[in-house]
């Protein structure tokens, strides 16, 4: 009797294993093995770009770095950086490391001004990008039983494609719905029992709103389990709102077009930081002002080097994204180190009264205060006077002026705790601030400094 129980218990333990792996040998290898793999791949990448890409040969020569001397990960810090401006300067084909007929796909970054960044993929590069997406999705619990509705734009933007291929590798049923057309999205979800979606945060919030207005309870009426939310930055509070509104779990991920798009780093079931796939990318955190490499745990700019890219390897790419490395092992067993959610862009950083402030810090505070809406605008004027205009939520007014004043003071106090200065808070009725289309303009800097 007892032994039957234990057999049963043991069987259940394995059946319910929370952490499934796509390819365990690539995910739970030891740090020593992983770092040896990285060093070998770095060496090969550096040799290849020096030989094949004049842009890098010049950079290395100017920095007086001979590729032969790059033998370990420690040598990474001696290599020159690559910036977004560099990628634009070599547009369209200046950074190719293979003949153009070896490339199979072109994507571009979402350049808002001037020329975009052109990003080439070889057959192997496309396959690797899909491989990392498959690994990422399995880490969140996706299996071949899942129905994946891809609500991202298929086009020059990388995001929709690589996740599509990743889901296909796993064997999910993939519905390439694309964005928009709320009616059809809902119909597909209902008729095909979609379990997993890939969506932008703004569309997710809109969709949740629509469900609520129609009295559809996603927990009862839909089969949704998880969402991959990306392409626009969003805060932890927005994540919670989406989870609440769609009745699913949102897994944070990190990616950028310059590094294949999504699937560079992904949360596992623990949802405590994103595993950055170090067998494909070498990561560093640097001080964005000095370029100095910072120790694990310190916040700074993420710098990435591709380790397996064929068509267009990139050395020490300045992502401009601010985060920190979580060096502690993760309970999921994966040995790839995690990064924290992105807390800002190096370009977005404001310096107000000598304090470094990222608009995302302000957004996080605003979204955590009840009765506050989603729309806000930060204005800087005169000598470092900061005003945060923020809308009340639809239900934020109960008829009493005193309550609005108290809310205003609460926001100011909470912001003071987060950003160390106390801005002026202007609460305004919903619908007062301009509605953002695409990337919202959140900061107006009129300072005469």
């Amino acid at each position: 009797m007892g032994s039957v129980f234990w057999q049963y218990a043991l069987a259940m333990t394995f059946a319910n294993t929370k952490h499934a792996y796509w390819k365990p040998e690539e995910e739970i290898l030891s740090r020593t093995e992983l770092e040896a793999l990285q060093a070998e791949r770095l060496k090969r990448t550096v040799g290849r770009v020096y030989d094949a890409v004049p842009f890098y040969r010049d950079k290395f020569d100017t920095a007086k770095v001979s590729p032969a001397t790059v033998v370990s990960l420690g040598d990474l810090a001696r290599l020159p950086f690559t910036t977004g401006a560099d990628l634009r300067s070599i547009y369209p084909t200046g950074m190719l490391a293979v003949p153009i007929d070896e490339t199979m796909r072109l994507h571009t970054s979402s350049g808002t001004t001037g020329k975009p960044k052109a990003l080439f993929f070889s057959r192997q590069d496309v396959s690797n990008a899909a491989e990392l997406c498959a690994r990422s999705m399995v880490a969140t619990g996706v299996t071949k039983q899942d129905i994946f509705q891809n609500m991202m734009t298929y086009g020059l933007f990388t995001g929709a494609f690589v996740m599509h291929y990743g889901a296909e590798k796993i064997g999910c049923l993939v519905i390439p719905a694309g964005p928009g057309n709320t009616e059809r999205q809902l119909m597909l979800m209902q008729d095909f029992h979609t379990t997993t979606i890939h969506i932008t945060p703004s569309f997710a919030l809109y969709f949740a709103d629509m469900l609520e207005k129609r009295g559809i309870d996603p927990r009862k009426d839909l089969a949704l389990k998880r969402a991959f939310v990306g392409a626009e930055p969003y805060t932890e509070e927005t994540r919670r709102k989406i989870e609440e509104g769609l009745g699913l779990r949102v897994f944070n991920s990190y990616g950028l077009s310059e590094m294949n798009g999504p699937g560079v780093a992904f949360e596992c079931q623990e949802q405590a930081g994103m595993h950055l796939w170090e067998d494909h990318y070498a990561m560093e955190i640097i001080n964005p002002e000095t370029g100095q490499v910072l120790p694990d745990g310190e916040r700074g700019e993420l710098v990435l080097t591709t380790l397996l890219r064929e068509a267009m390897p990139i050395i020490r790419y300045r992502t401009r994204d601010i985060t920190s490395i979580v060096p502690e092992p993760c309970p999921c067993g994966r040995t790839h180190r995690r990064i924290q959610r992105i807390t800002g862009r190096a370009d977005d950083m404001l310096i107000v009264r000598g304090v470094n402030i990222y608009p995302q810090q302000i957004e996080r505070v605003l979204m955590s205060v009840p009765k506050v809406g989603r729309n806000y605008l930060i204005t800087l004027e005169g000598l470092d006077e900061m005003t945060v205009r923020v809308e009340l939520s639809e239900f934020g007014f109960d008829g009493q002026l005193e309550h609005v004043v108290a809310l205003q003071n609460e926001i100011a106090t909470q912001l003071r705790a987060e950003i160390l200065i106390k801005p002026k808070i202007d609460l305004v009725p919903p619908g007062t601030l301009p509605i953002s289309e695409g990337k919202a303009k959140r900061v107006i800097d009129n300072r005469k400094l």
Partner: protein, 142 residues
């Protein structure tokens, strides 16, 4: 039971806001019987006594104005010295805090408009002291 419901409107504190709200109400045929406007820095709250606050609310919300309701106690007092003090004393004894208070005299009748978070206790206290709390109809017919 006989607290009176006001229409409360949240607006930005900038020129033209009052005119905008009163125009919307006028166009919808809403008669304003009493009004108070209070500002605090960047925003303000207008409170209106209107015959049908639900209708006023609907009219404003349709135009995207942020409106809500607020319950108050209209207390009729004698039009003579010490009358307001009777109300204040009565509430003070019960440790009830007044949020906003205003008053007026119409047709020889004096009314104190009491706003408090403890509207039920306040009513009970006032009534027990023999003070008369007016109903909505009584207030509108003054």
């Amino acid at each position: 039971m006989n607290s009176v419901r006001l229409l409360a409107v949240f607006v930005e504190n900038k020129p033209g806001q009052t005119a905008n709200i009163t125009r919307l109400l006028a166009e919808a045929g809403v008669n304003i019987r009493w009004v108070t406007i209070a500002n605090s820095g960047p925003f303000g709250v207008m409170k209106f006594l209107v015959p049908d606050p639900d209708q006023g609310h609907r009219v404003l919300r349709q135009s995207g104005v942020m409106a809500s309701f607020l319950d108050i106690l209209p207390v009729e007092v004698a039009d003579k010295p010490g009358a307001l003090q009777a109300v204040a004393d009565c509430l003070a004894k019960e440790q009830i805090n007044l949020d906003n208070t205003s008053g007026f005299v119409a047709n020889g009748r004096a009314v104190v408009i009491v706003e408090t978070h403890e509207i039920d206790r306040a009513r009970a206290a006032l009534v027990s002291q023999g003070l008369r709390v007016l109903s909505r109809d009584e207030l509108l017919c003054l």
